[in-house]
């Protein structure tokens, strides 16, 4: 390792292998983690949960896309089979390129997964020849051509020769490939040899489906049609249509906006070469609803988001990107943050594991439990003696904790079925007082006691006006929901509800008898009404009438209805209290919405402003600590310059600015304010000033102007 040498030279030091120790994910997690003792278990828990989320959401996505993908597959099969007909009509009509226009919605980040599964499905069941292209890799026609050929032929080439050739030769070969053969006629030749080969029995790969399809179609997927250059696409389609007789080509257009973009991009002469069929995918809001339903509103998933975090994630979805993938990423971030920053998250797992983990809690952790606000509240409610043992006796605390964790699990088991019941009852009410989607109701419930909400009361009032058959059908739905629940309380509630439904049904048989003679009492004031013409009397009479109607004897149905609603109300009040009221909720609920927001919805401008206004925030240097609104004179130059520029108008005189800067900086250097040199501009200060000003210009706060010499113009508003 010595570089001593007589002559000058370059020395190469290869990095020693020992130093290159790559950190695993776990090490990253443990590093800087709060409460390091249990970090390994926490990491494992976190990893398990995330894996589960991932597989589940992928399954869900497949499930949701199944329908549209199936119809697409049908379409491709049908197209490739009709091609082989030889009757008069199919001979006569111009051979069009079958094209599927797949409308996927504006959530572009989610499309990748759909296309991934689509091309996999196609390869499995229809054709081995699938190529998908993206707009950004196809700027010109030849690039598009090259990509398509590469993806169709290239995969096969690599299968044939496995020997590890050097990259360079491969590159030259690829280049040769391109320069000599990059045309569809090459593809044509390749295809004919390929299909001929597949007829012969001695073939390497033979999938059963491919054999009964003599000519599997060649599918080209354009992932983002809107971003393609229209001219390139037109030319490509024109070329393809020349070969359609020999090559069973097929296109799939991925469309983000609306199908009419096809007509905007392609003139009639080109679109007449296509046989376009439309496929509409599920809307992203529905997709989110199912994800929330399966992921968030379940008991098996121990990790929970509190109201604010949930709100942040949902508003990012609705306001910004419509992307379910980003939503799941947000959940992942929250998950990671929770396990990373909350030492008690060891208890955030299945009930059995949690029981075990409680027993293994250390002193520190128990102390942390005692510090939890929800636990403190719990302690305050206990008898004084119990309080003392809770605070002193560790084993007792552990037992209590086990009980509390059990209670928390029970709470969740009751919460979700009740929430779903309430949602089914209220989601069809006019004007949706408690929201159309279950997530809205969930948010309300997370926030505070839902039964104290005004909307809840209006919803209940509206429910009291429901007709019989409506109410019965809703209650039946509720019964169905409750049947899946496992908790004892809910089972008891289910029995009650079923009994009530039976009563409603009995009404049907009894209700044939005429209603009690309440009508008379109504009719009589009406009769009186006709006699009186005085306005005051009339009002009085009407009031009386109203009164009498209210106090009128309720029909048996109405009685039963009120009973049922009271029952629902009771259910809601006992099970839908917000999670914050539960003891030890901090274990499962992630609550730092600010962190999530900061990470997912970055605000570069705000952070620049904070950096300039209070450098202490980022630099953490004690010398920079100041009171509100001022900047210490020891701050970085740019902060001082920024602060000074806020005091100016729209045009800033550079010289004045420099003077002010130099004064501030001199004070920071501790120069004697009375000395002559104080505030004098020397070269160094001048240079520092110029650098700071150009940095400000770079950040977009000022710009040079020709309105006045030696001035710059401010671009931002505000300041002093």
């Amino acid at each position: 390792m010595s570089t001593s040498s007589v002559s000058k030279g370059c020395f190469v030091f290869k990095p020693s292998a020992k130093k290159k120790k790559t950190l695993s994910l776990e090490d990253h997690f443990i590093h800087g983690c709060e409460g390091a003792e249990k970090s390994k278990t926490r990491f494992q828990l976190c990893q398990e949960l995330w894996d589960q989320i991932k597989t589940d959401t992928e399954l869900l996505q497949d499930e949701l896309n199944r329908k549209i993908l199936d119809s697409l597959l049908d379409f491709t099969r049908k197209c490739s089979s009709t091609r082989q007909h030889s009757d008069w009509a199919s001979h006569m009509r111009a051979s069009e390129i079958p094209t599927a226009a797949l409308v996927l919605g504006v959530n572009v980040p989610d499309h990748d997964m759909t296309f991934q599964s689509l091309s996999e499905l196609l390869q499995q069941s229809v054709t081995p020849h699938v190529a998908s292209v993206q707009a950004k890799e196809c700027v010109a026609l030849k690039h598009l051509m090259k990509r398509v050929l590469e993806r169709l032929l290239g995969t096969d080439v690599t299968v044939d020769d496995d020997d590890n050739e050097e990259e360079e030769t491969e590159q030259t070969r690829a280049n040769l490939h391109k320069s000599v053969h990059c045309s569809l006629s090459t593809l044509c030749d390749w295809y004919t040899t390929k299909t001929k080969k597949s007829v012969t029995p001695g073939k390497k790969r033979s999938s059963p489906v491919k054999d009964d399809l003599q000519q599997p179609p060649i599918v080209i997927i354009f992932k983002d049609l809107e971003a393609f250059n229209a001219k390139v696409l037109q030319d490509f389609i024109l070329i393809c249509s020349r070969y359609i007789e020999r090559l069973p080509l097929m296109f799939i257009f991925g469309i983000a906006t609306s199908p009419s973009t096809i007509q905007h991009m392609l003139p009639h002469s080109v679109s007449s070469l296509l046989c376009i069929e439309l496929f509409q995918s599920l809307s992203c809001t529905q997709h989110l609803a199912t994800v929330i339903d399966k992921l968030i509103l379940t008991t098996w998933f121990p990790f929970k988001l509190n109201g604010k975090v949930m709100q942040v994630l949902i508003s990012i979805f609705l306001y910004h990107d419509f992307s379910v993938r980003n939503f799941i990423k947000g959940v992942q971030l929250a998950l990671l943050e929770h396990f990373h920053s909350q030492p008690l998250s060891v208890l955030c797992c299945r009930k059995k594991e949690a029981m075990l983990n409680v027993m293994q809690l250390g002193n520190h952790d128990l102390e942390r439990i005692r510090q939890l606000p929800s636990f403190k509240r719990y302690v305050e409610k206990q008898e004084p003696q119990e309080q003392e043992t809770l605070l002193k006796d560790d084993t007792h605390l552990k037992e209590v904790c086990q009980r509390l964790i059990k209670n928390l699990h029970k709470y969740h088991k009751n919460y979700y079925p009740t929430l779903r019941c309430l949602h089914t009852l209220t989601s069809s009410l006019p004007r949706y007082p408690l929201g159309k989607q279950i997530r809205e109701l969930h948010l309300i419930c997370l926030e505070k006691n839902v039964w104290e909400n005004e909307e809840y009361h209006t919803a209940m009032k509206l429910l009291k006006m429901l007709a019989k058959d409506e109410l019965i059908s809703l209650l039946k739905k509720c019964v169905e929901i409750l049947q899946h629940a496992k908790s004892k309380k809910i089972k008891r509630a289910l029995l009650q509800l079923e009994a009530m439904l039976a009563k409603f049904k009995q009404l049907d048989t009894v209700a044939t008898e005429p209603p009690p003679p309440a009508e008379e009492s109504i009719i009589s004031p009406v009769k009186n009404l006709q006699k009186k013409t005085d306005l005051f009397q009339l009002q009085k009479a009407l009031l009386e009438m109203n009164e009498s109607r209210r106090s009128k004897k309720l029909s048996p149905f109405e009685v039963l209805r009120n009973e049922a609603l009271q029952f629902i109300d009771g259910l809601v009040q006992s099970h839908l209290s917000p999670p914050e009221s539960q003891t030890l909720n901090e274990v499962c609920y992630y609550s730092s919405s600010a962190t999530v927001r900061r990470h997912l919805n970055a605000a570069p401008r705000t952070s620049i402003q904070t950096a300039l206004n209070s450098p202490f925030y980022y630099l953490q240097n004690d010398r920079l600590k100041t009171e509100d609104g001022t900047v210490s004179n020891a701050a970085p130059d740019i902060c001082i310059v920024y602060k000074l520029h806020l005091e100016c108008g729209r045009l800033i005189n550079l010289f004045d600015w420099l003077e002010a800067f130099s004064t501030v900086v001199s004070a920071a250097e501790g120069n004697d304010p009375d000395s002559d040199s104080f505030g004098k501009v020397d070269d160094v200060k001048h240079a520092r000033f110029i650098r700071a000003v150009s940095e400000l210009e770079f950040l977009g706060f000022i710009k040079s102007t020709k309105q006045k010499t030696d001035h710059v113009a401010r671009i931002t508003w505000g300041g002093c």
Partner: protein, 445 residues
């Protein structure tokens, strides 16, 4: 008819078969034949043929060259992404693949000429060789030397070769500034209605009589002739709708000769076809499926342009609205619309007459990013932090082609945009967020 196609150089029989395959194009074919001369004679160096889409240019040449067994190379210029491909195809069809492989990587014109001469000296032409260039208008976009060189290729390679250019535009639009060898011009006029009728009637369905099919073609042309004279398209439409035409016949309601009843049956159907399948609103497959279904279910099928609804995130909607306002309002009126206490603005000054009606007729105007954001913040009803995702939404609107970036995409500083959506679209969008956009548009004040 076949009297027109007579040439001493070719056998009578062959000319007969050619003539049979080229209905209504005898004059042009005869002209071409006489231009080409006898096979061993030198032909004119370059011929330029123009005429509208599907007026039989390629077809005539293809049939002539194939039936008379003349050596030829047909190249479509769309396909030739690079000149190399063009050269390769020509050499391949004249001299085989060995010659084609002689071309170096990214060959120049002189490479091509060199190899051509070398090859033709080994196998000199006994007959005229023809190079047919389809869609020749694309040659103008490639190398400036290519077109003039091709026009006098005969001279350059000293071989009996003739280049035939096919195009949809007239020669005047081709002529390079520097001047070039003038090719012989040959015009293919559009088929007349009678000719179309004649040609279409030839490919009748074997299970029906000639008269029946020709009556059908007559009806079809009656509907479509005013909008479409493209032979290929008409043939396609004829094939698609024929089964519907035969339907009453199969049910035994009418006889083959009862043209009027048949017309009454098919005419509304054809009119519908004109609005849907002809415009590719509905694909041909769907159209056929629809014909098989009962009448009442037909209403369910909607064309492509019926789906105009686009779901957008909340802020994207407002960004789009702001972009629309910025594109169609003059910048000086922003103060009037978006500042709460804008003071008095003189009405006469504010409403300039010539500006008044024209903004929507003139189309969207470009606006800088700053203005878009300023309008956005005043339009959106809640306080929005200027986060990164707001900016990324702007660029995703650009990729969705709802906005277009006017300035160069590499210019990071103060980019300019234009709004690319229609009035109806923006009205639908603003209805979903309860924003009355009409109130904010200068044109509708």
């Amino acid at each position: 008819m076949s009297a027109l196609l007579q040439h001493p150089g070719y056998e009578e029989e062959r000319l007969q078969t050619v003539a049979k395959q080229l209905p209504c194009r005898e004059v042009q074919a005869g002209m071409l034949l006489s231009l080409m001369g006898q096979p061993h004679q030198y032909s004119y160096p370059s011929i330029f043929i123009y005429g509208h889409q599907s007026s039989g240019k390629s077809h005539v040449l293809h049939v002539l060259l194939k039936e008379l067994e003349l050596p030829h190379a047909t190249v479509s210029c769309v396909e030739c992404v690079s000149v190399a491909l063009l050269f390769e195809q020509v050499l391949l069809s004249f001299f085989g693949c060995v010659a084609a492989s002689l071309l170096p990587r990214s060959p120049s014109l002189s490479d091509f000429v060199r190899i051509y001469r070398q090859q033709s000296s080994q196998s000199p032409a006994k007959q005229t060789r023809y190079i047919v260039m389809e869609k020749a208008e694309l040659l103008r976009d490639s190398n400036a030397n290519l077109l003039p060189a091709l026009l006098r290729l005969q001279e350059l390679v000293e071989d009996n070769v003739s280049v035939i250019l096919l195009s949809e535009i007239v020669w005047d639009r081709f002529r390079p500034n520097t001047g070039c060898f003038e090719p012989l011009l040959l015009h293919f006029p559009d088929y007349s209605k009678g000719e179309l009728q004649h040609i279409l009637a030839q490919d009748r369905n074997p299970s029906y009589s000639d008269e029946f099919y020709s009556a059908y073609i007559n009806i079809l042309l009656g509907v479509f002739y005013s909008v479409c004279r493209d032979l290929r398209e008409l043939r396609h439409l004829a094939a698609l709708n024929f089964s519907k035409f035969c339907e009453p016949l199969a049910e035994g309601k009418v006889k083959e000769t009862d043209t009027h009843k048949l017309w009454r049956n098919i005419e509304p159907h054809l009119k519908k076809a004109m609005q849907t399948v002809y415009l590719r609103e509905v694909s041909s497959l769907q159209w056929e499926k629809m014909q098989q279904m009962e009448e009442k279910e037909n209403g369910a099928l909607r064309g492509l342009s019926a789906h105009t609804h686009v779901e957008l995130p909340y802020y994207s909607k407002f960004l789009l609205i702001a972009a629309y306002l910025a594109s169609f309002n003059p910048a000086r009126t922003d103060k009037r619309f978006f500042v709460k206490h804008h003071g008095k603005i003189k009405k006469t000054n504010f409403l300039k007459k010539n500006e008044k009606t024209s903004n929507h007729l003139l189309g969207p105007k470009p606006f800088p990013l700053d203005r878009l954001l300023a309008i956005f913040y005043s339009v959106v009803d809640s306080r929005v932090a200027p986060t990164a995702s707001i900016f990324s939404q702007i660029s995703s609107l650009v990729t969705l082609q709802l906005l277009t970036q006017v300035s160069h995409s590499e210019q990071l500083d103060a980019p300019k945009y234009k709004c690319a959506v229609s009035m109806d679209f923006i009205c639908a969008i603003s209805r979903t967020v309860n924003f009355e956009i009409i109130k904010y548009l200068y044109d509708f004040l």
